[in-house]
Amino acid sequence: LETFVGHQVLRIKTRNEEQLKKLRFLETLDHLELDFWLNPSTPALPVDVRIPAHSLQAVKIFLESHGIEYSILIEDLQVILDREKQDIVASQQ
C-alpha cells in the first residue's frame, strides 16, 4: 500500500510567461515524481502540484530561487487520507 506521508500539495502562482516556463521545466524532471493537479497554463491560473516528501526541499528551493510565489494547500496528504479511511470504515459500520 502506497503511503503519502509528508507529501505536500503546493499552490503556485506565477506572474509571467517566464515563470510558467520554469514550472514546465520542473514538470519534465521525472526524478522529482511530481503530480500536477493543475498544470502550468497561463499566469492567470494557479498551478497545484503534489510533491513527495523526498522532493519537497528541492522544489521549494527551486521556486524560491526563481521568485515564484507558492502556498501550502495540503500540509500532509496522508493525514487527510487517514481521515477519509476512518470515515469510510465508520460509515460501513
Binding site: E2, D48, L73, I80, E84, I88, S91
Partner: protein, 310 residues
C-alpha cells in the same frame, strides 16, 4: 440482510463491488425504466456497466453521461450513483424528469475506469490512469482522457509512460475508451455527451486539442452559463464556463473533443466542486451537496437537449 437502493448510503464512498451491487439493486427496484448493460471490460477484465434509463423501445435519441474516468476523482463516481437514484426515483414524480425520459434515453457509466478505481481503494489513493502495461516501460497506465481520437498526441498530453497525462501508444489503445467509442458509434443516436471530472469547478466545452472555437461556440457557451447558474443557485458554488483551451489549458485526446468532432453537438465536461483544499479527497459529507448541485446543471443541459434536437 437483503440490500436495496434504500439502504445504500449515497453520502459515503464505496468500493467497486459495492457500487456494482447497487447498480443491480437500482435495476431491480426500478425495473420499469432502469436496466444494466455491460458495454465491455477493462484491461484487468472488470466489467464496464452502463445504466440505461428508458421508457420506450427502439433507438431513441439519448444522452451519454460518464463519471470516474480519472479514478482518483471519487466524488464523481459517488455523484453518479446519487444521480442514478435521483433519475430513477423522480420519474413519474418530477415533471421535468418524466418529460425527459418520455422523450429520450439516458446512458450512465458511473465507473469509467474500474481498474483505476479499485487501485485507488487498495494501493494508491492518488491513482488517475488506467492499469494497462506499457511495453518497454516499467511504468503502468495511460491517461484515458488523453487517449481519444481527437488531436491525439498533441499539446497537453505526455509521451512519457511514467507521466500522469501519458496519452498511450495510439488513440483508443485503452479498452475502457474503445468500449465507450464503440458503444456510442453502434448506438448512432447520441445527442449529448457529458462527462464528470472533479477538482476545479469548471464547465467546459470543446476544444482542448486546439484553441480555435467550435462552430457552435456561442450556443454551447449560453447553455454552459445557464447550467452554471443552476449549479450556483443551490449552494452558491461558482463555476467558470468556457472551452477547455480557454478555461484551463490545451489538452489533446480528450473525450468531449472526440464526441464533438464525431457529431455530438452537446458535449460538455464538468469539473465538480472542490475548493482545492482537499484535492481529490473531498470529505464524504460533501458528496450529496455536490451531487445535488451537479444534477441541477446536468438537468439544465438535458432539458435543452430535449427541446433542441438537431
Amino acid at each position: 440482510m437483503e440490500r436495496s437502493s434504500s439502504t445504500f448510503n449515497y453520502g459515503t464512498y464505496h468500493s467497486l463491488a459495492s457500487i456494482y451491487q447497487e447498480l443491480d439493486n437500482l435495476a431491480s427496484e426500478y425495473g420499469n425504466i432502469v436496466s444494466k448493460i455491460q458495454i465491455g471490460e477493462s484491461y484487468e477484465k472488470r466489467p464496464l456497466y452502463v445504466l440505461k434509463f428508458s421508457t420506450g423501445r427502439g433507438n431513441r435519441p439519448a444522452i451519454w453521461l460518464d463519471a470516474g474516468i480519472h479514478s482518483r476523482e471519487w466524488v464523481t463516481q459517488a455523484s453518479a450513483m446519487w444521480i442514478a437514484k435521483k433519475i430513477a426515483s423522480d420519474y413519474g414524480n418530477d415533471p421535468s424528469i418524466t418529460s425527459l425520459l418520455n422523450n429520450l434515453d439516458i446512458f450512465l457509466l458511473p465507473v469509467a475506469n474500474p481498474d483505476g478505481y479499485e487501485f485507488t481503494h487498495t494501493t494508491n489513493r492518488m491513482w488517475r490512469k488506467t492499469r494497462s502495461k506499457n511495453s518497454g516501460s516499467l511504468c503502468i497506465g495511460v491517461d484515458p482522457n488523453r487517449n481519444w481520437d481527437a488531436g491525439f498526441g498533441g499539446p497537453g498530453a505526455s509521451s512519457n509512460p511514467c507521466s500522469d497525462s501519458y496519452h498511450g501508444p495510439r488513440a483508443n489503445s485503452e479498452v475502457e475508451v474503445k468500449s465507450v467509442v464503440d458503444f456510442i458509434k453502434n448506438h448512432g443516436n447520441i445527442q449529448a455527451f457529458l462527462t464528470l471530472h472533479s477538482y476545479s469547478q469548471l464547465l467546459m466545452y470543446p476544444y482542448g486539442y486546439k484553441c480555435t472555437p467550435p462552430a457552435d461556440n456561442a450556443e454551447l457557451n449560453t447553455i454552459g452559463k445557464a447550467a452554471a447558474n443552476s449549479i450556483r443557485s443551490l449552494y452558491g458554488t461558482t463555476y467558470t464556463v468556457g472551452s477547455i483551451c480557454s478555461t484551463i489549458y490545451q489538452a489533446s485526446g480528450g473525450s468531449i473533443d472526440w464526441s464533438y468532432d464525431y457529431g455530438i453537438k452537446y458535449s460538455f465536461a464538468f469539473e465538480l466542486r472542490d475548493t482545492g483544499r482537499y484535492g481529490f479527497l473531498l470529505p464524504a459529507a460533501q458528496i450529496i451537496p455536490t451531487a445535488e448541485e451537479t444534477w441541477l446543471g446536468l438537468k439544465t443541459i438535458m432539458e435543452y437537449v430535449r427541446d433542441n434536437p438537431y
